[in-house]
Symmetry: D2
C-alpha cells in the first residue's frame, strides 16, 4: 500500500462522505488514511454504515487540520456550507491539495456567496481566488493545475452540461432560458427533516425555493463566463419521490429557427466527443435518471419544437455521483495526472 496516495475524507458521515469512501476503497492508486467528522467523531465508520463493515475498519476522528495534513496529501471536504472555508486555508498551507464539495469556493466574487448563502463575511478572498470550478467537461486544464477545486453543485452540474453547447455556440436567446430541475431526496443530505421522511415525501411531488434557490447564481456565473456576457436565467427545483438522480429539463428559444433536431444533435455530439462521461442519446431517446444511478454518467437527450422555436434539452445524472462524489474523484484523477476514469463506475445496475 505504500505507493498509494494517502487521502482524507472530512465529513465522512454524510451521503457525500459515504459515496467517497465507497469509491476510494476501490480506487487503485489511493488509500484512505483519515476519516474526519464532528458530530460522529469517535464512532467507527461501520457503526454508521454497517453495509460497509466487511470492507472498512476505521474510526471517525476530529477535524484538526494539522492531524489531517500529517496523514493525508489530498483532502476531500464534504461538509455543510460555511465549514470548508474555516479549514481550507490551513490545509493548503500545510501543502495539502483540497477538493471541496460545498459551495464555499464556487464563487469568484465572494459577495455573491455572501448574498445568497447568508454565511456572514468571508475573509479568505485570496484563497477563493485560487479555487478552480471542478467541472471537468469545461475546465479540465485548470483543474490539472489546481491545489483547490470547488466541486460543482448537483443541479449546476446537470444544468450546465445541458446548456454548455448552446452557450458556447451562442445558439439561444439567453433571456428565454428556463431550467426545470427535479431531484431525488438524497440531495437534502442525511439530516432528519420532517419533509424528507418517507411518509411525507413518498407518493408526492412539489417545487421549492422557486426563484430563490442558491444554485441559481452558480449556474449563472458559469453560463456567463462561457457565453461572454451576463446571463440571468430561471431555475426551479422540485423534490421527487426517489432516492437518487437529477433530471434537468432546459428550455430556450433558438436564435436561428432554421436549426433542426439533427443539427443540434450533431453539435452536442461534437462538443462532447472527447467527454467519456457525457452520452448524447440517439434522436428520439430521452434519458431516465435511473440510467445514471451509481455512475459518473450524464445522459442527454434533446428535441426541437418547430411550432415554438424552442430547443428542449433533458439531462440526467446521479446527484450523489456526477453531481457530487464521483465528479470529485474525476477531478482528483485530473489533478494527479492519472487516467480520468480510475475508480469511477460507468455501468449502472438496471432496473
Amino acid at each position: 500500500m505504500t505507493d498509494r496516495l494517502p487521502v482524507g475524507i472530512i465529513g465522512a458521515s454524510g451521503y457525500g462522505g459515504v459515496q467517497l469512501v465507497r469509491l476510494l476503497l476501490e480506487h487503485p492508486l489511493v488509500e484512505i488514511t483519515y476519516l474526519g467528522g464532528s458530530g460522529s467523531a469517535g464512532q467507527t465508520f461501520a457503526d454508521l454504515y454497517p453495509h460497509l463493515g466487511h470492507c472498512i475498519n476505521m474510526e471517525i476522528e476530529d477535524c484538526t487540520p494539522a492531524e489531517i495534513a500529517a496523514r493525508a496529501k489530498v483532502v476531500f471536504l464534504s461538509l455543510p456550507n460555511g465549514l470548508a472555508s474555516k479549514l481550507t486555508p490551513e490545509l493548503l498551507a500545510y501543502g495539502c491539495k483540497v477538493l471541496d464539495l460545498s459551495a464555499d469556493y464556487r464563487f469568484k466574487d465572494l459577495s455573491v456567496y455572501e448574498a445568497w448563502y447568508q454565511g456572514g463575511t468571508r475573509t479568505d478572498q485570496d484563497v477563493a481566488h485560487k479555487a478552480v470550478y471542478g467541472l471537468p467537461e469545461l475546465y479540465s486544464d485548470r483543474i490539472a493545475e489546481a491545489d483547490l477545486v470547488a466541486c460543482p453543485g448537483c443541479y449546476p452540474t446537470a444544468s450546465l452540461l445541458a446548456l454548455l453547447p448552446l452557450l458556447k455556440q451562442g445558439l439561444v436567446d439567453h433571456t428565454t432560458i428556463v431550467i426545470d430541475a427535479k431531484s431525488g431526496t438524497s440531495g437534502g443530505g442525511r439530516q432528519a427533516k420532517t419533509n424528507l421522511l418517507l411518509a411525507e415525501a413518498s407518493n408526492s411531488l412539489g417545487a421549492y425555493a422557486i426563484a430563490s434557490h442558491r444554485h441559481t447564481p452558480e449556474i449563472e456565473q458559469i453560463a456567463s463566463a462561457v457565453s461572454g456576457h451576463e446571463v440571468l436565467l430561471q431555475f426551479t427545483p422540485h423534490l421527487i419521490p426517489m432516492v437518487r438522480g437529477i433530471l434537468a429539463t432546459v428550455y430556450a428559444k433558438l436564435r436561428d429557427p432554421g436549426f433542426t433536431k439533427d443539427d443540434l444533435l450533431t453539435i452536442y455530439k461534437s462538443v462532447y466527443r472527447s467527454s467519456k462521461w457525457v452520452r448524447v442519446l440517439p434522436s428520439g431517446v430521452y434519458p431516465q435518471t435511473k440510467w445514471a444511478v451509481g455512475t459518473n454518467m450524464c445522459f442527454i437527450g434533446l428535441e426541437v419544437d418547430p411550432r415554438t422555436g424552442r430547443i428542449i434539452v433533458v439531462s440526467a445524472i446521479d446527484n450523489l455521483m456526477k453531481g457530487q462524489a464521483s465528479q470529485a474523484v474525476q477531478c482528483l484523477n485530473i489533478m494527479m495526472g492519472w487516467d480520468e476514469s480510475l475508480g469511477i463506475p460507468k455501468l449502472p445496475f438496471y432496473p
Copy 2:
C-alpha cells in the same frame, strides 16, 4: 332507490371506471345501473377489484347502446380514445346525457383531433359541435345546458387552472409560456406496459412526448378561446415514480414587470373566489401533489421572479380525480342542477 338517477359507466374496468364506481357508490342522488366493458364483459366487478367486493355486486356487461339507454339516463364513457365517438351519437339519440372522459369530443375543430390523434376521419361533426368542454371553473353555464360533456384531460385541467387568471387578464406574453408537467404513472392507465412496471418506473424520472404530446392542442384551444387570440405554448410531460397526482409548473413573462407576487395572489384569489375546488395558497406556500390525492381539489401556489420578470405558477391535482373522474361527477352535478359538491371528496388523507 327509485328516486335516484340511473347512471351507466362504460369502460368500468379501467382506472377511470373504478374511480367513477367508487364515487358514484357514495353519491346520494345517483344509482349505478349499468357497468359496461368490452374485454371484461361477463366478469363481476369484484373479480377485477376485490377491494370493493363488500360494496358492489354487479356484473360487467357488453357496450350495446340500446341496452345501456334502457337502464341509464346518464352515461359516463371511460374508454380509450376513438371509442366514445362510436357510441355517443346513438346514446344521445336514445335521450341519454353523456359525459365522455376520452379526447373524442374535446375539439371544436375535428381536424385538430384527426391530426394529433391519428384516429382516422371523423364523421360526427354535428355531435362534436354540441359538446361542451367540461371545465366547470370556466364553462359552468354551458355545462348546465349540455347533453354531451367532453371532460378535460388530466394535464389540461392542471395547466389551464394555473393559466386561466393570466390569460383572462392578459397578464403575460403568451409566446413565453412553458408548462413543465409531472404525472404519476396511473395516468398511463391499467395497461400492462413494460415502462410502467414498478421495476422500471420506480426510482426514476424522465420526460416523454417532448413537443408532441396530444394534450398540447387541447390546452392551446382553451387558452386561445380565453385570451381571444391564438396561443402556441410549450408543454412537456414527465413520468414521476408515484401512483397519483399531477404537478404543473407554469412559466411566463409578465407584460408589466411592476406586478408583485402579492398583486398576482390577489388576482388569483379573486378569479377563484367562487370556485370551491380551487385553493390559492398563502404567499410562500407551494402545493404538494399529495395534498390533492383522493379529492377534487386543485391547489395553486405562485411566485414572481423580479430578476427575470417571470411569474411561476404551480398547480397540483389528483390526475384520476379533478383530472378525470371527480371532475366528471362535478359536471354531472351541474348538468342536473344539483349542489356542485354532492358525492365529491374534498378532504385528502395525509400522509
Copy 3:
C-alpha cells in the same frame, strides 16, 4: 352546530391527530372544539397541514385539562406513550369521556406496561382498571359502557383480527403461533428520524425489534383472555417502503389436521358475519394493504397447507385508520350509541 357533540383532539399535530381531524370534520354528529398540542401550541392547524386549510381554521392550544374539559365532552388523546396517563385522571374527573390512542391504558396489569415501556412507576391503577380495550369486533358491549377506551395498537389490531376465530374456537396449538408483520413507515409517526427518511427507507426492507417489540405483550394479553389460558407468541415487525398499511402474516399449526381451507373460511365468515369492517375474502384471494388504505376495513385471506398442517392467515389494514384513528371513531360511535359507521370511510381509492 349546537346539537353536535363537542370533542377535543389532544396531540393534533401528529399523524394520529391529523387523521382524527380529517375524520371528525366529516362526522355528522360531532364538532371539533379543541385542538391541543405541546410543541405546536400557538400555531394554526393549517400552518402544520396546509392541505386542510380550506376546511379548518383553528389554532392549536395548550393541553390544560380544565380548559379542555370546559369545551369538550369527549377527548381523543393522540400523544406519545406516557403522557395520556398524566391527563386522563383529571379529564375523567371533569366528566369527559376519553379515548386514548397510546399504550398507557391497554394493560390490565400495569406491571406489564412498566416492564415493556420503561415509563417509570404508574400510580393510576384505579383509572387503568376502568379502561376498556377498544377492539369493537371483540368488546363492543364493554365499549358501549366505557368512559375510558384504550385504543389498540396498529399491529395488535391486524394480528388479533387474524387470530380471533382461531383462538375463540381453540383451533390451533398456541405455542406454534408466529406473526410476521409488515408496516408502512407512517407507523413511526411524524418524527424526523434518520432511518425513516425517504432516502434511507425507500427501496429497502428490514426487520426491527425482533423478539422485543412492545406490541407483543398487548397481543398476548388479549389472545390469552380470548383463549382462556396464557398465550406466548412470536411477533416480528418489519418496515416496508410505503406510507400506510399493515400486513400481518400469521402462522399456526392446526390441532385437527383434517380441517380444510373451506372449513376455515366458513368459520371466519361466521365469526365476522356481523362485523361490517372485517371482510373475509373468497378462497384463493389474499389481501393487498392498499385495499384498506383510507378506510376502516380489515381484509382477511387464508390458506391451509396440508403438507405442514398449518393455517396461514393474512390480514391487511390501514395502520393509521383501523389501526388507529378510524377505529377510535368507531369506538366513539359505540360509546355514544350511534350507528357504528358514522363518519367512517369504507371505500378506498385504488390504485
Copy 4:
C-alpha cells in the same frame, strides 16, 4: 482480447440477462461473444437498454445451439422455465459449459420438477443427473468440477444461507421452520403484468402463492440433503414495493433451549468464516435489503427469543445478484479455477 474466455448469454433481454451483460462487461477474463434471445432477436442490445449504449454494441441473435457453441465456450442461460432443458443437452454435446439460471436443472428428481412446474414430461434425466446445484457456500467443490450448473432461485438462496448453519448442526426442530420471505418486484421479470405495474404494486404489500410457491421444494431438497433427513417447511413469499432485494425472515424452535444469541452468532460466524460473500452482522444489527443491492453479498442477523425458544434469522440479498446473476458469475469463477471474486461487486451504493 484473445486470451479472454468467450461466453454467451442466452435470454439477454430479461433482467437476468442485463445483469449478466453488465457484470461480464467488467469481468477481466471474459469476453461476451454471443447475445441470444427469441422475441428480441435482430434488435441491438442498446435498443433494449439504452443506458448501456456507451459500452456495448452488439446485436441479439437467435438461440441456435450450433451457432452459440461456435462462438462461446461457456453459456449462461437466462430463460423462462422449460426452455433451458431444450438447449442444454446439445450445448453440452458441443463441449460448452452451461450455467442455467432457470429451474430446469435444480432438481435431482425430475418428478418433483414435473409436479411443481407443470412443464410436461422431461426426458433429459441423464443430463439433469450431472447438474450441480450452484450454491457455492455449500457445493463449491462440486461446482469446480461441473459442466452444468443449476443456479439457485432467488428465494432459495436467501433462505438456505439463513438456514444452513442450523441444518448442518441439527440445532432446530425442522417441523417448526417457517420462512416468511419478501421480494422486490423485479423478481417477476421484465414481463408486463398488471399486478406489477407501479400504479398497482407501489404503496402496497401482499402475500402470494401461499403454501404453493415452486421454490418450496427447491429449498426442501437442499435442506433435506444437508440435514440428512426429509425436511418439510413453510414458505410464504410477499411482494414488496421496491425494485430489488429479498429479505427472508426464518423462524425455528431450538432443540436446546439453553442456546443464547451469542452462541448462535459464534456458530454462524464459524460456518461462514471462509465465505467472503456472507457477512454475519454484529449482535443487535439486522440487515436492510438495500445494503446488498448491486452486490453479491448476503447479510445475516439473528436473534434468540428466550420466551418462546425460537431462533429468528434474517437474511438479505439482491435478488438479481446473489439471487441470480452475480452468483452465476461466482460459479463461473469457481468452474474456471479463477479467484472467486473476479468481476463481482461487493460494495453497494447507499443510500
